[in-house]
């Protein structure tokens, strides 16, 4: 039991990721306001992005820009750039999704005059 807890505390980034992910998921499931649901969705996306960035972190490493072309490349001195590139793409995708979601929210509000899921469902019946 204590071993497991210490093992988790050794990896604070994983713990943070799990907390943010579950927090976002909880908001998505329990809140009736559509904008709050979108906020929860964005937290879930952000937690995955955080996970991707955190696994590429490296102590004492620098940005992957080659300073001298004559010396042999020491891979240990540079951070891995690929997860960051993936992260940038994932952020763009997340922003686009959020934009479409907010546009839908706006259209729903103009149509039904409310953003509360239960009130909208009552009007749909």
């Amino acid at each position: 039991m204590f071993d497991a807890i210490f093992a988790v505390l050794q990896r604070p980034n994983f713990l943070t990721f799990v907390i943010i992910f579950l927090w976002g998921f909880y908001i998505m499931v329990t809140r009736y306001n559509l904008v709050k649901k979108l906020i929860g969705m964005y937290l879930v996306q952000t937690s995955v992005i955080f996970f991707l960035v955190s696994i590429s972190a490296k102590e004492g490493a620098t940005v992957p820009i080659l300073l001298s072309i004559t010396e042999p490349v020491q891979a240990a001195n540079y951070a891995n750039p690929l997860p960051h590139v993936l992260t940038l793409t994932a952020i763009v995708v997340g922003v686009a999704t959020l934009g479409v979601g907010l546009a839908l929210c706006g259209a729903i509000y103009r149509k039904y005059g409310s953003l509360d899921e239960q009130k909208i469902l009552e009007k749909l019946e």
Partner: protein
């Protein structure tokens, strides 16, 4: 429309090329794999591409007279969204690495949220639910991909397939695999995660429902197949559970539950959408058998199902736009006076049930043969049960059409537009052609589209 017509021709040329010269690999901007990004056009992808572009073209032909009137001058954006959707699906079919798959998945999903929401009214709410669930699925998929990347340091499918066998004891691989499966499962409306699908397709505008319903879930299913067979080996056993068994069990659940839910619907589009869920299950049963017959049967049934779903939603679209009917009872009143509608409905539903002259029969036949070969009798029972339930809900539909001959209604309808006749005719003919030429098509799939190691 012209673009899609050209795309159909190019895809057929591509299929011809792949058959005769083997698979084509395109490496973006000259960076060698595994560092660069790669597109793979193997037999399976090329076959599905022909299907995808043909159905996309038909969908755009159908869009003309049915597109939402409120759009006005913004109709250009509407067509742009459809083209974006088709190109994103093409990307999913060709993608050679897992992250590109994610990006194309999201591009396709974004355009489909917009295409569902265009109809306004209830569609907005359905699209919002689709967006929330779809994004959750995409996030889970990305999480799975990052697990695998953290373990292996590569995203390329072929490269992953080389490195994974050594790592299968790791819990992180199992976690990543499960996250990817759940994420894609939400996207393809697998049974425990299907909640968004019937609403989204029912309230989607009539003009886009055929493209959405026939293509998105099938293409995501294809991505799933690729991950199971190409990235992981088909015979992978994780913690004493073969992954194919998992696939077959999920397929059995989806096939039976989807068909039972379809039986309970009154709205025709709702019924067809639940029918689509049950057919995803049947395809998965075929794929999960782990032998050549089952796999080819599954892929062949996937092609049939895409054509049949398109046909059914064309029928529903014509029924709603031309005759203004939405429920099964109303369709019964119109039936006799709409020869094109009823004729194609009869043929397509024969395919859905799986009777001999149509492609649906041969797909199910190969799937059952594969299941018998694997000695998996539960799967056989599930396919048969799902067929019976499908028969039951189509009988309900036809009872309305053919029995109420005495109550001739006073509707008078004009001639239906040429594009309606064209789309209904082509899909109906395609259902029959896939049946009649099933032997050469299945042979082609056996020769070209089998995964390595099967």
């Amino acid at each position: 429309m012209t673009i899609l017509a050209v795309m159909v021709l190019v895809s057929i040329l591509n299929l011809h090329n792949v058959i005769h010269h083997g698979e084509v690999r395109y490496v973006f901007s000259g960076w060698a794999v595994p560092l660069g990004i790669e597109w793979v056009a193997d037999g399976l992808a090329s076959v599905i591409l022909v299907l995808l572009s043909a159905l996309g073209l038909l969908g755009v032909v159908f869009t003309g007279p049915t597109s939402p009137k409120a759009l006005g001058g913004r109709i250009v954006h509407f067509y742009t969204l459809i083209l974006l959707l088709v190109s994103a699906l093409t990307g999913i079919v060709f993608a050679g690495d897992l992250f590109n798959l994610f990006v194309f998945l999201e591009v396709g999903a974004l355009s489909s949220y917009a295409l569902v929401g265009v109809a306004g009214g209830r569609a907005l709410f359905a699209a919002f639910r689709y967006l929330i669930l779809g994004t959750l699925g995409a996030s889970l998929y990305l999480l799975g991909v990052s697990y695998l990347y953290a373990l292996t340091g590569t995203l390329n499918m072929a490269d992953l397939a080389d490195r994974l066998p050594l790592l299968l004891h790791s819990k992180a691989v199992v976690g990543g695999l499960l996250f990817m499966f759940i994420g894609l499962g939400i996207k393809m409306a697998l049974v425990p995660f299907h909640a968004w699908m019937p609403e989204a397709y029912t309230y989607a505008p009539e003009s886009t429902a055929p493209i959405l319903a026939s293509l998105i879930t099938k293409v995501v299913l294809l991505a799933w197949v690729r991950i199971i067979y190409w990235v992981f080996n088909a015979s992978t056993i994780i913690f004493d559970i073969p992954i194919l068994l998992l696939v077959a069990v999920l397929g059995v659940l989806a096939a039976v539950i989807g068909a039972s839910l379809a039986l309970a619907q009154r709205d025709i589009k709702m019924m067809f959408a639940y029918g689509g869920i049950s057919h995803i299950g049947i395809i998965l049963i075929g794929i999960g058998q782990g032998n050549q017959t089952g796999f080819v049967g599954g892929i062949f049934y996937l092609m049939n199902d895409a054509v049949m779903q398109a046909g059914l939603f064309f029928i529903a679209g014509v029924a709603i736009c031309q005759y203004g009917v939405r429920t099964i009872d109303d369709l019964g009143r119109v039936g006799r006076q709409a020869p094109w509608l009823t004729g194609s409905l009869v043929v397509v539903s024969l395919g859905m049930i799986g009777l001999p002259p149509t492609g649906g029969f041969f797909g199910k036949w190969y799937i059952i043969l594969g299941a018998l070969e694997a000695g998996n009798y539960v799967s056989v029972a599930a396919v048969v049960l799902s067929t019976l339930l499908t028969l039951a809900y189509f009988v309900k539909l036809f009872e309305g059409i053919f029995r109420q001959s005495s109550t001739q209604s006073d509707f008078q309808f004009g001639e239906i537009p040429l594009s309606f006749k064209l789309t209904l005719g082509v899909t109906t003919a395609a259902v029959l052609i896939l049946g009649i030429f099933s032997a050469p098509i299945v042979q082609l799939l056996l020769n070209q589209a089998l995964p390595p190691g099967l």
